[in-house]
Subunit: 212 residues, 2 copies
């Protein structure tokens, strides 16, 4: 897909990613984007029709592969487990690792991607709602089922709540890591993704396993 994409289109997407992460959706103008991408202003409307469509294309480019990777990883763990339920820690790893992998894969711009995640979640504009719902709905269903097999004592409702909590731990940790660095006065850093992942999984597993 990226091979077949025009250089202009790709440059616009990359510039959009960087600028939106830094300034937000509304505060990022098409003029700033096209200036950073060194393309003509009208190129945006030519390649993406509208600004909203550009934003959606930019988010989909990143979120699609990540959700796919999550399901692939869960598949692998389920195959490895055979008849047994997948271990709770493995389920959480399948849920969280692909995001952190995406962050560390790209030397720079890793944090940009997390900012976009936080922005898209908080954005009240209606045009992002379908994307967020798609992002959560079908993926969560698979993980919910795996979770219920791993923790059969949990009621269906309780499992939904706790999966929501686990998502909160992860999303808040990675999207607002600067808060942790600030309140700990630099003592805690998120720079090591593997250690961060281990901490998050450990915390969530304990919360998920606790007696209802």
């Amino acid at each position: 897909m990226p091979k077949e994409m025009h250089a202009t289109k790709l440059a616009i997407l990359k510039a959009t990613e960087r600028l939106v992460a830094a300034h937000g959706f509304e505060a990022t103008s098409l003029r700033a984007i096209t200036a950073a991408a060194k393309v003509n202003l009208a190129a945006v409307n030519y390649h993406f029709s509208t600004k909203d469509a550009l934003i959606l294309a930019m988010l989909n480019r990143r979120l699609g592969p990540i959700n796919e990777a999550r399901l692939v990883l869960l598949d692998r763990f389920e195959k490895e487990a055979g008849e047994n339920p997948v271990a709770l820690e493995k389920i959480l790893e399948a849920l969280f690792r692909p995001v952190l992998d995406e962050v560390s894969r790209r030397s720079q711009g890793g944090r940009d991607f997390l900012r976009l995640l936080a922005l898209a979640l908080a954005e009240p504009s209606a045009y992002l709602k379908p994307l967020v719902e798609k992002e959560f709905s079908e993926k969560t269903r698979r993980f919910h089922r795996a979770l219920r097999r791993a923790l059969p004592r949990l009621s269906e409702c309780e499992a939904h709540w706790r999966l929501h909590f686990a998502h909160g731990v992860f999303l808040h940790t990675v999207t607002h890591s600067e808060v942790l660095e600030c309140t700990s006065r630099g003592r805690c850093r998120i720079s090591d993704p593997e250690a961060t992942l281990r901490r998050i999984i450990h915390f969530c597993a304990a919360g998920l396993r606790s007696a209802p």
Copy 2:
């Protein structure tokens, strides 16, 4: 303070709260605010100088009392505990209850307030940074100290991480409750604040207590 405030100023603040929660900071124009508040457009600049100052005033009006209530509640629990460390569940209650109280106190507009919280956290604009830092820094220090007394086996660094995780559980739960309602297909509702608080505290306490 609200007694001494001019009716115009108050009407602007209330309208701002509602509209910003619905549409975001940038997407909410002063013209929309003043129309909803039934005041003249220039009244905003007269009473608040600038739009940014208006946003800050609106957020401070809500966040200030809540952080105060958190510390007051923690004080009370510490006094009740005497020489002993405050129970972990009490610490978490002091941290989270004041927010949910604020939500249920106002029949309507309760969810508006949570949306504002999520928006302010995600907003990349520089002018909100001081507010977010003030919101977290001094308050977190008090709760961090109480947490270390309750869980002396935790290293200082580990305590910072886990407090950050607990914040994530709470903030994501309340600010994105619609995601939970969607993924659970309506089975889980956040409408009962007391039950929600109990669930969150239970989950976080288990995660915080787990062996390092």
